[in-house]
């Protein structure tokens, strides 16, 4: 099978670039919409005009982010049709329903109530305006639900059956797809990460106000009270959803889990590496040490994965070479079965073409027997099942460290806001301000863990990335890669400049415009 790996790599790079840039805009839409809704709720219930000023300012920044980020995700759909035609066709039936619901809901909820949110002040009642603001927040978050359900299915394909006639995965149970544990955890973990990013955004900018202009004290304190409370609750929740996500990964994507922890050899009572530097020379199958330095939490990985102190957690080598003692099949054996599935699929189609129904029936039976190994049939080397360990390991550990920092930051900022000591705490105000990009960074790291960690699969165990691509010119993918890099950078510069102008204006005591 001839595959142009440079085409695969450029297609991957382009998709990664698009997704990374797109996800700079998404977290603020998810979280800031709720923060604004909470602020407006306080305004409506107290009637205090100062809360209206607070609401209007953050709503304006939400609007800027929404306008500039709007439709940046659509590019990924363009890429599906052009660069990933095999994948699009293969998953079409599964993705069709969630994405159609997403499109309709997003259009009606956001376009209708978004207008009321921005144009409706003094035109509709306070309560109707408030309802609209909440509906924009709920609508934006529900849009994310459908996308993440689709992504969760790729990580753990359930509720479907591959139809050799149509060459598509067809939905058998909608509810299995929706309530796929991987999708549910992914949704909750991703949106709560977006909420934290937004909380940090508000706390960081409010800290800037406090550092620049003492007259902004009341405005900043009100903003921090709401954002830090929201951020503290969602940080705690995010840690819980992170735990359930890890539990799901242990069972559904154990190779990813082993890469996240740099675990090459399986262990009973496996530790979690709290801090570690991987041995860069380490490879699967050699006897070199996994880490140059490692500080570990004893048995924590076994507890996390199986809620047992001495549970066996398989390492990368267990999956590559197999471990009969623990019933783990080797990748080589799976590859052999996968090749049988692919050959049976081919035989089925040829028999159908020749109208040889008995042969077609036998081929289909053979295919069904090995169907779950289908994706392995495209691999040549058992080690291909191992993702890039350093990228996954460091991304995961940085994300976790940042998650803990966000919890501490929100706790301290809330405490200081409540005790009235905020304005005097210059160090914490500076720390909060410089944490602004960290929320975005943590989101991207999370996606890197999720997506690089599941390599080589586009659809777990069924379709490798290298087979998912379309056979098109590498040059055209390269050209559009740089084109997107330019357009997205331009949009990001526009977002930062427009927001910075509004923030500076506000810091000088300016009013909402």
């Amino acid at each position: 099978m001839s595959i142009d790996m440079s085409l695969v790599d450029w297609s991957r790079a382009q998709f990664a670039l698009t997704a990374i840039y797109h996800f700079l805009f998404v977290p603020l839409t998810l979280g800031l919409s709720f923060i604004v809704a909470i602020m407006e709720t306080i305004y409506v219930t107290t009637g205090d005009e100062k809360w209206k000023e607070v609401t209007l300012f953050w709503m304006k920044l939400f609007g800027i982010n929404f306008a500039i980020g709007l439709a940046t995700g659509i590019i990924m759909e363009f890429e599906f049709g052009t660069n990933w035609a095999n994948y699009s066709w293969f998953v079409g039936d599964i993705f069709g329903a969630p994405l159609a619901i997403e499109g309709i809901m997003a259009f009606f909820l956001e376009s209708t109530f978004f207008a009321v949110m921005f144009f409706g002040w003094n035109r509709v009642s306070k309560k109707f305006h408030l309802l609209s603001t909440w509906l924009v927040a709920i609508g934006s978050n529900l849009s994310a639900l459908w996308i993440l359900v689709a992504n969760g299915w790729m990580q753990h394909p359930v509720g479907m059956r591959f139809n050799p006639e149509t060459v598509r995965s067809e939905m058998e149970n909608f509810w299995d797809v929706i309530f796929n544990p991987n999708a549910v955890n992914k949704f909750l973990h991703t949106i709560s990460a977006g909420y934290i990013t937004s909380a940090i955004f508000v706390v960081a900018i409010s800290s800037y106000f406090l550092l620049k202009n003492k007259k902004m004290q009341d405005f900043a304190k009100r903003s921090i009270l709401v954002a830090a409370s929201f951020g503290l609750i969602t940080s705690a929740y995010n840690i819980l959803t992170g735990d359930s996500s890890a539990y799901t990964i242990v069972h559904d994507q154990p190779v990813k889990l082993a890469a996240m922890e740099g675990l090459y050899k399986g262990k009973k009572g496996a530790d979690i590496v709290a801090f570690g530097i991987l041995n860069p020379k380490k490879e699967v199958g050699d006897n070199k040490e996994e880490f140059l330095i490692a500080i570990s939490i004893p048995k924590a990985l076994s507890i996390l994965g199986y809620h047992k102190l001495d549970a066996y957690i398989p390492g990368l080598e267990d999956f590559v070479f197999g471990n009969p003692k623990y019933g783990i099949e080797s990748a080589a054996s799976k590859i052999e079965k996968g090749k049988k599935a692919v050959a049976a699929l081919k035989a089925y189609k040829e028999a159908k073409k020749a109208n040889d129904m008995p042969k077609a029936k036998a081929a289909l039976e053979e295919f069904r027997k090995y169907e779950k190994y289908m994706g392995y049939g495209y691999l040549e080397d058992p080690k291909e099942i191992v993702p890039n360990v350093p990228i996954v390991f460091y991304s995961f550990h940085m994300m976790v460290a940042l998650g803990i920092w966000f919890f501490v930051l929100m706790l301290v900022m809330l405490y200081k806001a409540m005790t009235g000591t905020l304005a005097k705490s210059k160090t914490w105000l500076k720390l909060a301000f410089y944490s602004l990009p960290l929320g975005f960074l943590a989101n991207e790291l999370g996606w890197i863990v999720a997506e690089v960690g599941r390599q080589p699969w586009a659809v777990q165990d069924l379709l490798p990335v290298k087979i998912a691509t379309t056979h098109i010119s590498t040059t055209s993918v390269m050209i559009t890669f740089f084109m997107f890099a330019f357009i997205f950078t331009l949009l990001l510069i526009a977002e930062v400049r427009i927001m910075a102008t509004q923030i500076k204006l506000k810091a000088q005591g300016g009013h909402n415009v």
């Binding site: 099978m1 001839s2 595959i3 304006k60 609007g63 800027i64 306008a67 500039i68 709007l70 439709a71 659509i74 590019i75 363009f78 890429e79 049709g81 052009t82 035609a85 095999n86 699009s88 066709w89 293969f90 207008a115 009321v116 921005f118 144009f119 409706g120 035109r123 509709v124 109707f128 050799p164 006639e165 149509t166 060459v167 598509r168 692919v342 050959a343 699929l345 081919k346 189609k349 087979i467 379309t470 056979h471 098109i472 055209s476 050209i479 559009t480 084109m483 357009i487 949009l491 526009a494 427009i498 509004q502 415009v513």
Partner: protein
């Protein structure tokens, strides 16, 4: 809220829009033109719909890629 008042909200909202709002709308419109007219039409055809006329042909093409190497 009456239908007329609802549409008036849009009309007056756009009419009384501040400098920032106009700038954002300009960005949205330019972005949509670049994305949907230039990029989508010139660089991102839907390969399977462009090359084939029926779902059967598309399925055969993908099956060929899945079983016998890429065309």
């Amino acid at each position: 809220m009456k239908v007329k008042a609802f549409f008036n909200m849009y009309i007056e909202g756009f009419r009384n829009m501040g400098k920032l709002g106009k700038k954002l709308w300009a960005i949205i419109i330019i972005k949509f033109i670049v994305l949907f007219v230039v990029i989508k039409m010139l660089f991102f055809p839907d390969i399977l719909h462009e090359r084939f006329h029926s779902d059967k042909e598309r399925a055969d093409y993908v099956l060929q890629n899945l079983t016998g190497g890429k065309k």
